[in-house]
Amino acid sequence: MIRSFITYPLQFILLVLVQVLVLNNIQFSGFINPYLYILFILWLPIETPSWLVMVLACFLGLSVDLFTDTMGMHASASIFLAFCRPGILRFLAPRDGYETNQIPNLQMMGIVWFISYVSIATILHHLFLFFIEVFRFSEFLSTFGRAMASSVFTLLLIFITQLFFYNQEARK
């Protein structure tokens, strides 16, 4: 319990820094941009109260916004993700429910569960974010395509990050 008071703030800061300093500068071919920072919301323990997830998501989005000059854009998308999270967890729940102290990551939940959880969440978040950014439906297909392309890159990065920690945990 006490450990999580250190690890989660640390995760928060690390993910925001990686997002702002590294990933925002990648810009593959000008329009694909991975948003790894949502991993913070995804990694929160399953029994975290949903209001707390939402408050944390709001702060997370605002911190990213502060550096990209898009006040409110990432915040609204992160809040949307926090809103969807309980629904996704319920949708993917095992038959006899979740155990206590479970964290939705690869090593605890297994690869199939993790892939579906992360994919649904990432695609929802990116669609919301990209449509908020253009703020019109007239170029639906182009926006949809950009959201999907970025989702693929975000998912790729999430798996790389997850595998990176997977090895460390296994060695312990």
């Binding site: 925002n24 694909i32 939402m54 989005g61 916004d65 000059d69 908020i132 703020f135």
Partner: protein, 278 residues
């Protein structure tokens, strides 16, 4: 009343979501409303100084390209200097030149934050009102137009990049002098659109598009882009022209802010004429 409370209780999570979203959208709209001098903004002191130290670190990576661009610019400027012209007549004549008066001055600035991947891109410069920068001044790079200064704080300036959905640059074709307006369609950071060129004009791919000098923001004849592709849409009077920007917005770091000494005079005069119309 009890029903209302139980209703709110039942959907409390949804209401919490709405509350948070309203807050986020309030921020979003307030910033989209061209009111960007707000508390949170990258021109503010915290992230401004943060970005400055960050860009000091990353500048080394681009040093070679920047040096090359600056050297090329020096070469061009040197070739226009007086000592690169040969005197044709031997006499020493002193001419006090009253034909020319300085109209534009340039201030050198460094980009400390830049983006190309959004629909509305902004650039942050390391100079601000203490260096005489004002909102509305033009910004040009080593090879062409970059944007227009939007907001200024004491030490930083936020520039509306050409890569902004509502950016419009008054442009003309260098060889035929027909003018139109140059915009960005939000797709590729290398390409823009030139509008309002009538379709009787003869165009060729590779024609240069330069600033028209109408708006008093930029001097006349600064290059912006070259024509990449053009089509005549049927039943319309204007071309659809796709242009390629001469600046690589992904890789610029040194820019110049253009100060026009006569801007106020021109703007006031134009406004007065418009007012008399009404």
């Amino acid at each position: 009343m009890r029903n209302l409370i139980s209703f709110i209780n039942k959907y409390s999570f949804f209401f919490l979501f709405l509350l948070f979203e309203v807050f986020a959208f309030y921020l979003l709209f307030r910033n989209n409303n061209f009111q960007r001098v707000s508390f949170f903004n990258s021109t503010n002191a915290i992230s401004g100084s943060f970005y400055e130290s960050y860009s000091e670190l990353t500048d080394y990576i681009n040093l070679k390209e920047v040096n090359d661009a600056l050297a090329a610019e020096n070469e061009r400027l040197r070739s226009t200097q007086i000592n690169s012209f040969q005197r044709l007549f031997g006499e020493n004549i002193m001419v006090k030149d009253t034909l020319f008066k300085r109209r534009f001055r340039f201030a050198k600035a460094k980009i400390i934050n830049n983006s190309i991947n959004k629909q509305n891109n902004y650039i942050t410069l390391n100079i601000g009102s203490s260096n005489g920068i004002e909102s509305g001044m033009g910004v040009i790079g080593p090879s062409g137009v970059v944007g227009v200064v939007k907001n200024v704080s004491e030490n930083y300036a936020s520039v509306l990049s050409v890569l902004h959905r509502s950016a419009k640059v008054s442009a003309k074709l260098k060889n035929t002098q027909y003018f139109g307006s140059l915009q960005w369609d939000g797709k590729n950071y290398k390409e823009g659109i030139l509008k309002d060129i009538p379709n009787h004009v003869h165009l060729t791919e590779g024609d240069t598009v330069v600033t028209s000098g109408f708006s008093a923001t930029f001097p006349e004849g600064i290059s912006i882009a070259t024509i990449q592709k053009f089509v005549k849409p049927e039943g319309e009077n204007f071309y659809d022209i796709k242009v390629k920007f001469v600046n690589d917005f992904k890789n610029i770091s040194q820019v110049y802010v253009v100060k026009n000494s006569y801007k106020l005079e021109q703007v006031l005069l134009e406004e007065q004429s418009l007012k008399e119309d009404d």
